[in-house]
């Protein structure tokens, strides 16, 4: 992946914001900015605030890299605004983000393309209030069985996510999910090896990077396991047979394609004991922190993080604004 971006290109990395993942975003942004600088690009970093539009108009960058996680960053909103201003940016267009960031919607789209997704139900808080939480939860357990994964429909970094092993644990898990959003996704828990498969596109078409197997010490890849160096073992490429390895790559590429994603994405998958590949979710602005899986996969592929990021910037610049 050659870094052909003109060295005079001015890149603005957006990081921070007001989402619950602000801290992660700042770390991702800093790392991507440093990687881009290492290729000779002129890079500025900026938080997202009320002065952003004025700043973009006054000092228009050649390309924006939105390293914003969570709402605004991944739901397409910030990219809509960049489109309004005709500023090129790295990453998927707003409409694709809207679909991909909403976990049940993304699951449905990917399932329609023939990918395995675990059976799930998506319900807002109001449903539990109006129909009686006990009755609804009993029906959920009856239908989906245990264990269950409960998560907010629009969130990242495993915030608000709980694995529920008994029916008694479900109310607390629901409250935990609703602390991060008004709608919760409950899905049948799939036991197996968790793998992250990044997809990057340097302008010559999307390709899957080596899958990263995730083995957290505590068994659950929660916030602490994600962002505490040493708390999780990552194996790259994941210890999969050639056939299954090819399948996780195919699923990640298929998800990237059918969701209309662009430049970069990361699919989170489970490989069960029978070697079947289950799609969990996809990230349109995956983490690039020191403990994130995308930089690991880039490195495992023999690529340079700066060169990959610069190639995505180049693709965005070539594409131009409102694309």
């Amino acid at each position: 992946m050659a870094a052909t971006t003109p060295t005079h290109a001015q890149v603005l990395v957006l990081a921070g914001g007001l989402s619950h993942e602000r801290d992660v975003s700042l770390r991702s942004g800093r790392r991507v900015a440093e990687a881009l600088r290492s290729t000779g690009l002129e890079v500025a970093e900026r938080d997202v605030d009320a002065a952003l539009l004025t700043s973009l108009r006054a000092d228009r960058p050649d390309c924006v890299v939105p390293m914003l996680h969570g709402e605004t960053g991944e739901d397409g909103a910030i990219r809509e605004v960049l489109d309004l201003l005709d500023v090129p940016y790295v990453g998927a267009p707003p409409a694709a983000c809207r679909v991909a960031f909403d976990k049940p919607v993304a699951k449905a789209v990917v399932a329609r393309a023939g990918v395995l997704t675990s059976e799930s139900v998506c319900l807002p808080h109001e449903t539990f209030r109006e129909l009686g939480a006990a009755a609804v939860m009993a029906a959920l357990v009856e239908r989906l069985g245990l264990p269950l994964m409960v998560k907010p429909t629009r969130s990242g970094s495993a915030l608000g996510c709980t694995v529920v092993h008994t029916a008694e644990e479900l109310p607390a898990a629901m409250v935990n999910a609703f602390a991060y959003g008004d709608v919760a996704l409950l899905e049948r828990f799939v036991t197996g090896l968790e793998v992250a498969v990044p997809v990057v596109d340097d302008g010559s078409g999307p390709r899957a990077l080596p899958a990263v197997a995730i083995q957290p010490d505590g068994g659950v890849y929660d916030y602490t396991a994600r962002y505490t160096a040493g708390a999780t073992e990552f194996v790259t490429p994941a210890p999969l047979s050639e056939e299954v390895g090819a399948e996780v790559a195919r699923v990640a590429l298929l998800a990237h394609e059918v969701l209309g994603l662009r430049d970069v994405s990361r699919s989170d998958l489970i490989v069960d004991g029978d070697g079947r590949v289950w799609f969990l979710e996809v990230n349109v602005a995956p983490g690039f922190t020191e403990t994130s899986t995308v930089p690991l996969a880039i490195s495992a592929a023999g690529l340079d993080l700066g060169a990959v990021c610069a190639a995505m910037v180049q693709a965005a610049v070539t594409r131009g604004g409102r694309s």
Binding site: H20, R22, L26, H125, A179
Partner: protein, 439 residues
Amino acid sequence: MESQPARASTRLDSYVDRYAARTAGMTASEIRALFSVASRPEVVSLAGGMPNISGLPLDVVGGAISELVATQGPVAMQYGSGQGVPELREQICDVMRLEGIDAHPDDVVVTVGSQQAVDLVTRIFCDPGDVVICEAPSYVGALGVFKAYQCDVVHAEMDADGLVPEALQQAITATKAAGKTIKFLYTIPNFHNPAGVTLSPARRHEVLEICRREDILVLEDNPYGLLGFSREPMRALRADEAEGVIYLGSFSKTFAPGFRVGWALAPHAVREKLVLAQESATLCPPQFSQMAVSAYLAQHDWQGQIKQFREMYRERRDAMVEALDDLMPASCRWNVPDGGFYVWLTLPPGIDAKAMLPRAVTARVAYVPGTAFFADGFGSSSMRLSFCYPTPERIREGVRRLAGVLEAEMELRQTFGANASAPTLEVRSGYDAPSSDLT
């Protein structure tokens, strides 16, 4: 795909198997990540304990520092004594005299904020497994130190008059009966962080009497003692017990925290060890900061400045209490502190402050969940609200947002019932508070 690369396994930390046991708990946490959002101006942060020093006479401070550099620069920028600058130690004795302490400068050890004094005292007294008795709740920064030295913390209950003597006695008796060694009682007698309460004069005598009888050393941490709103400073425990009390003081709240100057006043033998511990930790406390603080004390009406601080903080306390009275549900309880920075608020039964924090941050208001102030997992139904930094208007707005968050949370809890109150986030006592640079 590229040609298949060699498989590699990594934990992204090559030292993961080499850390000391005391680093357990030093992990990334959702709670601390949420405090990152609280630093944004859109969020009304009632979480941090950053002193509001906007009223400091910067021209006076600047002039004093300029003169310091011009006249004593080579000394100020040189290494100094491990015990601290002698002139400053004399001035510290003048400060402590306001609380009835008659001390000699030789018994004062200057530290990097009183936080380092807590660390040094714990370092010289505590082996792993030793017990420190703390109020319930207690200062999160001290709990972090005790955890780092692998101490066991035993909490003793407080009420509106501070530490309950009977609870202290009970904690001592039970701990001794369990065959454990109690190294000291850690107490914040004035305008407690986080509880906001003050130990009554009668109880001061009782607490000292219990500790004398049981041969328990007292670590009296007093950063807020001069910041009372309605009366003269209370008499320090150390004023009535020289041998059994180590007193900790700080200029962080009465002047400015950036200088990082605090101190310990200790009995002679302890002081000698503290100096050696200080030298092994830092060689010496920062000479420049000490001399700058000394110049400020010498050249400025520092007592008048503290009076201004008191009035400013009282106005903010009033704003918070008035807003709580007006806006919070009757099922909440809180105290009205007579000084310091904090209100301790207890939520209606079944509401978990820690679990509610993400919702609060979404609503652009932040607080510190009560669990941060307990070593034993308690405190989930409480929170610390700081009134020291935001303006009165922002405080009211923050409470208004908090009331809305609480209303939604109560509705949620009502929907899912009592079973939903199980803690869902890991308790990390001593760590889950905003870092010191957050408001």
